[in-house]
Symmetry: C2
Subunit: 213 residues, 2 copies
């Protein structure tokens, strides 16, 4: 299975590395990290360098496309080179996937038009502007389009995809290999579960990673 | 808080990137990725390049040290340059932490002697050879030494550390920001929960990422 993961400046690294760590154990996995140009991108606030081994022009087809989120996705949403590449490679993919605000990039490319999708909880209200129906679930399948909620949800998305593609045995084996038996110290990982003032405050301070629409 | 994360060839990227994505949101976080040499390391089977912005010699003190796991940790466990650096920087750290088989590297450096620690479930039986008492828990604190179980456990470790250092409000806020509301498709993430034949088979095939002792 050929897996193509897009890298870009100011991306959230875990959006990509979570699913990568799952998908690389799929049968005959061939992973390629691709950037606008070949070479280094800087994730987060710039303290982490990741290498794109291929430029967009080098990758013309794939089985799985994965687009992580931002805040760097804001620039991608109006980047014609990236959007055109996404439309072309999507014609070849068996699965077109995203994590966090990566779905906004797929949406900006027109690929989620008329479909259901999810994204980071803070960005759900951005999807309708692109003709996409937001669904506040952790992993959303609509045909070959698979979108995950914020950041850490990419791990669940990738395991769910492996389950769909290859069945429960590889999905469970990969989960066991990654010892994915989550035990966060609090149960505060969604706006429905976190303290309400925290949710409100985060909404008020979230515009930095969203596009003005 | 200065956070120093060790990178090396054939490491499991998620071991580092999971906790990084949590710790980088701590107050006044300064993250540095460090390698034996400055420059690129190749994680996993080699398909992911990560950049070490500093060489070992460049980093002489830190608040948090984080050592991820392997299989590349096997080479580190007999690498005197790395082991000496770990002993020196550990003298300066407030917290010395590991994920997955990273605890075997701390153990090989002698830093966990007489302490309790955890590691990937497949590597628990390697700890006693270094005078360490294995504890089959997801996150283990023993003084300033904090060890996490396999791969994905680093996320829980980092959130638990934030909770310990800064309290429940930042820990919950970071969890909410990362939308860490885990929902794996199966409950198979530990040897106690996965199908028994799968656990047995994985034990039989696990020597590749363990040191001969």
């Amino acid at each position: 299975m050929r897996i193509t993961i897009l890298l870009f400046d100011r991306m959230a690294a875990l959006d990509a590395i979570g699913p990568y760590e799952v998908l690389r154990y799929s049968e005959n996995a061939e992973v390629v990290f691709v950037g606008k140009e070949k070479g280094e991108v800087r994730a987060g606030q710039g303290t982490l360098g990741l290498i794109a081994d291929a430029a967009l022009a080098d990758v013309k087809d794939t089985d799985v496309l994965l687009v992580p989120g931002g805040p760097g996705q804001v620039d991608l949403m109006t980047d014609d080179e990236v959007l055109s590449w996404l439309r072309e490679i999507d014609k070849t993919s068996k699965w077109t996937t995203s994590v966090c605000t990566g779905s906004l990039v797929l949406a900006a490319a027109g690929l989620l038009q008329g479909r259901k999708a999810t994204t980071h909880w803070l960005a759900q209200d951005q999807l309708p502007a692109f003709g996409v129906e937001p669904v506040a679930e952790r992993v959303v399948f609509d045909g070959k389009y698979v979108t995950a909620a914020g950041v850490s949800a990419g791990i669940d998305m990738a395991l769910t995809l492996i389950d769909r593609v290859a069945g429960s045995v590889p999905a469970q084996a990969i989960q066991l290999g990654l010892e994915y038996d989550p035990r966060p110290p609090y149960d505060a990982g969604s706006p429905a579960k976190a303290p309400e003032p925290m949710v409100t405050s985060m909404r008020e301070n979230s515009r930095f990673f969203l596009q003005e629409i």
